[in-house]
């Protein structure tokens, strides 16, 4: 819930934004730390009890170890490793140990497993900081500044994934016009809430049918309609969430990265990914794709890199085989698009091919949502019923 609760606005966002704007530059980070910690304790406790709330210690540990990071230092490797360990332990332990004991009961299963609030996002920010400190791409900043970066609660739970070198100057800068920031921020929040309540939640009535029983019994002509509804729902839901996060940050006078830029209706799958969950795409390019060699390697390696990145993206979205299948689908689409481009050259700018490629991209992206929102056997049923009957 969080962004659609009154407590978020009246206990955290508005008091924190007012206090932040009234404080001096040196005190501002501590305002964020104070409210960010309270925010995490309140909502993490609500979601996962005492264990969830205790995960605040992860932030404290990370901020202390971050003081050791220097350009070229091995301590940064420790930072990278611990970020992946936090994520791996909480999110993937049961998934990977389950794969080890395939079809048998898993003796290593963590029965009380829970996901700390926002772990997929804050560990990516930890990783980015350690990596960029090692590469000398960012300054260390003060402890309070780093803590405020990782505890900045509007983006803590589900992004947009920030960069320290972008955030720091905004934290130190003279704040912009209060009236304009609040008018723009509040408008953005309202539009985000409309997307969530009046579009995403309304479509749940259709997307709830994406289960094995309904897929087997319903009129097959309804299947693409339900999947299309899911495509619109996830866009409205997540872009609405991002609007609220960006609007909330704006109340502080801080601009965080955009996450969406009209992704549906793009000409090809590469453009789609440049406009969908932009902060994640950029993170994956900078910290996975380029370290793997990016586009400066032999062609087969480029295709392998694209598929590897999208598999990682799929796994990041959830610890399940169907998320891997979704990542593989997009990896194959990206590799296929590159092959097509090499074979056919630059795309035509005539209206009919442009329109056709937009429609085709939209259809392929929406087909991929089947792997995202259903487990693999159910997605199989979906496609079998859709194409065979």
């Amino acid at each position: 819930m969080i962004f659609n609760t009154l407590s978020y606005y009246f206990c955290f966002l508005i008091p924190a934004a007012i206090a932040f704007r009234l404080a001096t530059v040196r005190v501002r980070p501590w305002i964020i730390v104070l409210f960010g910690s309270a925010f995490f304790l309140h909502f993490a406790y609500g979601m996962a009890g005492v264990g969830g709330a205790l995960c605040l210690l992860i932030f404290l540990w990370e901020s202390l170890t971050s003081r050791l990071y220097r350009p070229g230092s091995r301590w940064c490797l420790l930072g990278l490793t611990q970020s992946l360990l936090f994520l791996g332990l909480f999110k993937y332990w049961n998934f990977f140990t389950g794969l080890l004991f395939f079809h048998q009961s898993n003796p290593l299963r963590w029965q009380g497993a829970f996901l700390p609030l926002g772990i997929s996002f804050f560990t990516f920010e930890f990783y980015h900081y350690a990596w960029d400190r090692r590469a000398g791409k960012t300054e260390a900043g003060r402890l309070s500044e780093y803590l405020s970066f990782i505890l900045f609660f509007p983006t803590m739970v589900a992004g947009p994934i920030k960069r320290y070198q972008d955030f720091l100057p905004k934290l130190r800068a003279t704040l912009g016009d209060w009236n304009q920031d609040w008018e723009r921020g509040a408008t953005r929040i309202l539009c985000g809430l409309v997307k969530k309540f009046a579009v995403a939640d309304l479509l749940t009535a259709w997307t709830d049918h994406l289960n094995a029983h309904d897929l087997l019994t319903a009129d097959r002509r309804m299947l693409p309609v339900w999947l299309l509804a899911y495509g619109i729902k996830i866009y409205a839901d997540f872009s609405g969430y991002s609007d609220i996060a960006i609007g909330s940050a704006r109340l502080f006078g801080i601009r965080v990265p955009e996450n969406f830029d009209w992704p549906y209706g793009r000409r090809n799958i590469q453009r789609f990914w440049q406009c969908w969950h932009i902060s994640l795409t950029r993170w994956l390019i900078d910290y996975v794709y380029i370290p793997l060699g990016g586009s400066r390697v032999a062609r087969p390696r480029i295709y392998a890199n694209l598929i590897a990145v999208m598999l990682i993206s799929g796994l990041w979205h959830g610890a399940g085989v169907h998320f891997l299948a979704w990542g593989l689908w997009h990896g194959l689409l990206l590799a296929g698009q590159r092959l097509w481009r090499q074979w056919r050259g630059e795309p035509s700018t005539a209206p009919v091919p442009v329109f056709s490629s937009r429609v085709l991209t939209f259809v392929l992206v929406n087909a991929g949502w089947a792997f995202f929102c259903m487990d693999l056997p159910t997605a199989q049923i979906f496609f079998r019923r859709l194409f065979v009957g």
């Binding site: 723009r184 953005r188 309540f197 309304l202 609007d243």
Partner: protein, 59 residues
């Protein structure tokens, strides 16, 4: 109206753009922004009861 103008107008009305397109400057633009706020609050009020959690929260 050009597609680009429509896009920038929508982005401005939704709060994601700071510079108002020429179409939305002046008294007419302010009135339209008020209408957007009223419509948004009405829609939120009408639909907020059925809220479910955000998809990306458990990620």
């Amino acid at each position: 109206m050009k597609l680009e103008t429509l896009r920038s107008s929508l982005e401005f009305l939704a709060g994601s753009r700071d510079e108002a397109p020429t179409l939305l400057t002046g008294r007419y633009g302010a009135a339209l922004r008020c209408c957007v706020w009223i419509a948004a609050i009405a829609l939120i009020y009408a639909f907020c009861g059925q809220s479910s959690k955000f998809i990306y929260i458990d990620f």
